[in-house]
């Protein structure tokens, strides 16, 4: 091989490797899950509706099963990230949970009927029940859970997911198993995900879509990919030299978001920075973070005005939630001094500038 051809080959490999590296870096830099929000259907509960369940009189679960179900209710309440239903056990609850072989479908391990927004009914097959593929084993029944048992707390959380209106995930488009707890075939011990005790990020995404995040400070699931919009206003556009102008920014989910329930939602307690640039200049300077103002997605910062400058607010794309960054339009503030003002009228100390 000639020296020229060897050099070309080496350069080609280098270029190809660089291109592959750029590609990998660009993909790795994004924080959005490839798994879509978990499918869902049906009527929802009211926001933060308290839903109480009683143990079905003729088929109460044994103590170990009750504990697992109650733990799952707590898991749902703590991991929902949205104003989905809040579950708790109460003997006077309108919803019911039973432990019985009396289930309409022959091979079902668990069964949930929704009657939203009034109640739900749920049934679990008992420990040791013979099914076509083997004997049903609940891990919580054992002091040393055997391989192949089903974690009752995880299964109960799956059923509570149905009670929250979540359907089964399409496993063909799930890239990480734990992105959702709503698989039609959950794992048994000791396969990865067998004892997941929280909703997956894509379950949370759907709950946030259907029920709204807990409040405007709640992080949006990284299973979402929401655009934001940022608006900036100033208390005055023409300020006496050395006096302050107060800038107020408002951050919200984009108004044209395809999930109408989230469109224009305020986004509070995030990091929004204020930048400044001389009029006619090209370089922006970061003045610092804007302070949280209220739960309507507003932030503020006061600036001492000494020049004619443009200002803008920036919300950088966070790595920890499914929001995309945004930049406000620029706002211009000019300064004036008293020398440039006309004299006030007699007994009236008002300058015209």
């Amino acid at each position: 091989m000639s020296r020229s051809r060897r050099y070309t080959t080496q350069l080609s490999r280098t270029v190809a490797a660089f291109g592959a590296a750029v590609c990998l870096l660009s993909v790795a830099a994004t924080n959005v899950s490839a798994t879509p929000p978990t499918p869902a259907s049906g009527t929802t509960w009211s926001p933060n509706q308290r839903v109480e369940y009683h143990w079905k009189d003729v088929a109460p679960p044994p103590a170990w099963m009750k504990a697992a179900i109650n733990a799952a209710a707590q898991d749902s309440n703590e991991s929902r990230g949205a104003r989905a239903a809040i579950f708790s056990q109460s003997d006077s609850g309108t919803s019911s949970i039973g432990y019985t072989g009396d289930i309409p479908t022959t091979y079902a391990v668990a069964y949930t009927i929704g009657n939203l927004p009034t109640s739900f009914g749920m049934r679990f097959r008992p420990q040791g029940y013979p099914l076509d593929w083997g004997t049903l084993r609940w891990c919580q029944f054992y002091d040393l859970p055997p391989t192949g048992c089903y974690d009752a707390e995880m299964i109960a959380l799956h059923e509570l997911g149905h009670a929250q209106t979540l359907d089964h995930a399409d496993d063909a488009v799930v890239t990480n198993w734990t992105d959702t707890i709503m698989h039609w075939a959950p794992k048994t011990k000791a396969k990865a995900g067998w004892n997941q005790h929280a909703f997956g990020i894509c379950d949370v995404a759907r709950l946030q879509i259907r029920y709204q995040p807990l409040d405007s400070t709640t992080a949006y699931s990284t299973c979402l990919d929401l655009d934001t919009q940022l608006a900036l206003t100033t208390s005055a556009t023409n300020v006496l030299y050395g006096r302050n102008a107060t800038f107020t920014a408002r951050l919200s989910v984009a108004a044209d978001e395809i999930y109408a329930s989230l469109a224009s939602d305020p986004v509070s307690a995030r990091k929004v920075v204020l930048q400044q640039r001389p009029v006619g200049g090209s370089t922006w300077t970061t003045l610092g973070a804007m302070s949280f103002l209220d739960y309507n997605g507003r932030y503020s910062r006061s600036v001492t005005i000494t020049n004619d400058d443009d200002y803008r607010a920036i919300f950088a794309t966070p790595l920890s939630e499914g929001l995309n960054g945004s930049t406000s339009l620029a706002v211009r503030v000019t300064s004036y001094d008293l020398d440039s003002c006309s004299a006030p009228g007699i007994n009236v100390y008002i300058y015209t500038c």
């Binding site: 593929w133 089964h168 063909a172």
Partner: protein
């Protein structure tokens, strides 16, 4: 021409590699609605209208190809109360076989089997050749919007993807719902004795939901 200048002319193969890498970056970077191709990347046909000449299970009614639904059928949900519709797989020159209904969510009710029944208890589907195509549909002619087919020697944890198609229906999105599908055609599993599984998601006409069906497929 100096050696250095000649070295800067990249071979065609390198340009192709760079083009493929650029294309992979454009497709692979998540943005908006993610597109995930089921593996293996077998091209499968999903017909938005019923296949002409298709047979139906006895007693069922499948819309003929001459009447094309504009979006979704006007058949009432009441025709399939009490649970999801039956799922049927048909091999060439064979009778359609209704599958075992597994886990589903339908009409505010979810039934969770979690594991596949043993193949010997499933409806038998005989496929005379591994080169054959199989066609899945719902009875009585209910549409679906997303589907995936897979097979296993028995356990759900060991499912091997065969093919998939359609698009998810998102009831909470302002995007237009995907078109209804009335059949899905895919390649048969390889020669052997398998459990064949077809999972589908329903569209807005059915109020959403999903279902999984299974057969004992004997591929010769």
């Amino acid at each position: 021409m100096p050696d250095g200048a000649a070295a800067l002319r990249l071979p065609a193969t390198t340009l192709m590699v760079l083009a493929l890498v650029a294309g992979a970056c454009a497709v692979g970077a998540p943005a908006g609605s993610p597109q995930v191709t089921p593996s293996p990347a077998v091209t499968a046909a999903s017909s938005a209208v019923p296949t002409s000449g298709s047979t139906s299970a006895p007693g069922t009614d499948i819309t003929s190809a001459s009447t094309r639904p504009t979006a979704y059928p006007t058949s009432s949900l009441s025709a399939v109360t009490g649970g999801p519709p039956a799922g049927v797989v048909e091999a060439a020159r064979a009778q359609p076989v209704t599958g075992h209904l597994g886990s589903y969510c339908w009409d505010a009710t979810c039934s969770d089997e979690f594991e596949l029944p043993t193949s010997s208890t499933l409806p038998d589907l005989t496929v005379t050749s591994a080169e054959q195509s199989l066609s899945f549909s719902l009875s009585p002619g209910i549409g679906f919007v997303q589907w995936s087919a897979s097979y296993t020697t028995g356990k759900s944890a060991d499912l091997v993807p065969l093919a998939g198609g359609g698009a998810a229906f998102d009831p909470d999105s302002t995007a237009s719902p995907p078109p209804a599908l009335f059949s899905a055609t895919f390649a048969a599993p390889p020669k052997g004795d398998w459990t064949l599984v077809v999972s589908i998601h329903f569209g807005p006409h059915a109020g959403g939901g999903d279902a999984t069906y299974a057969w004992h497929a004997m591929v010769r």
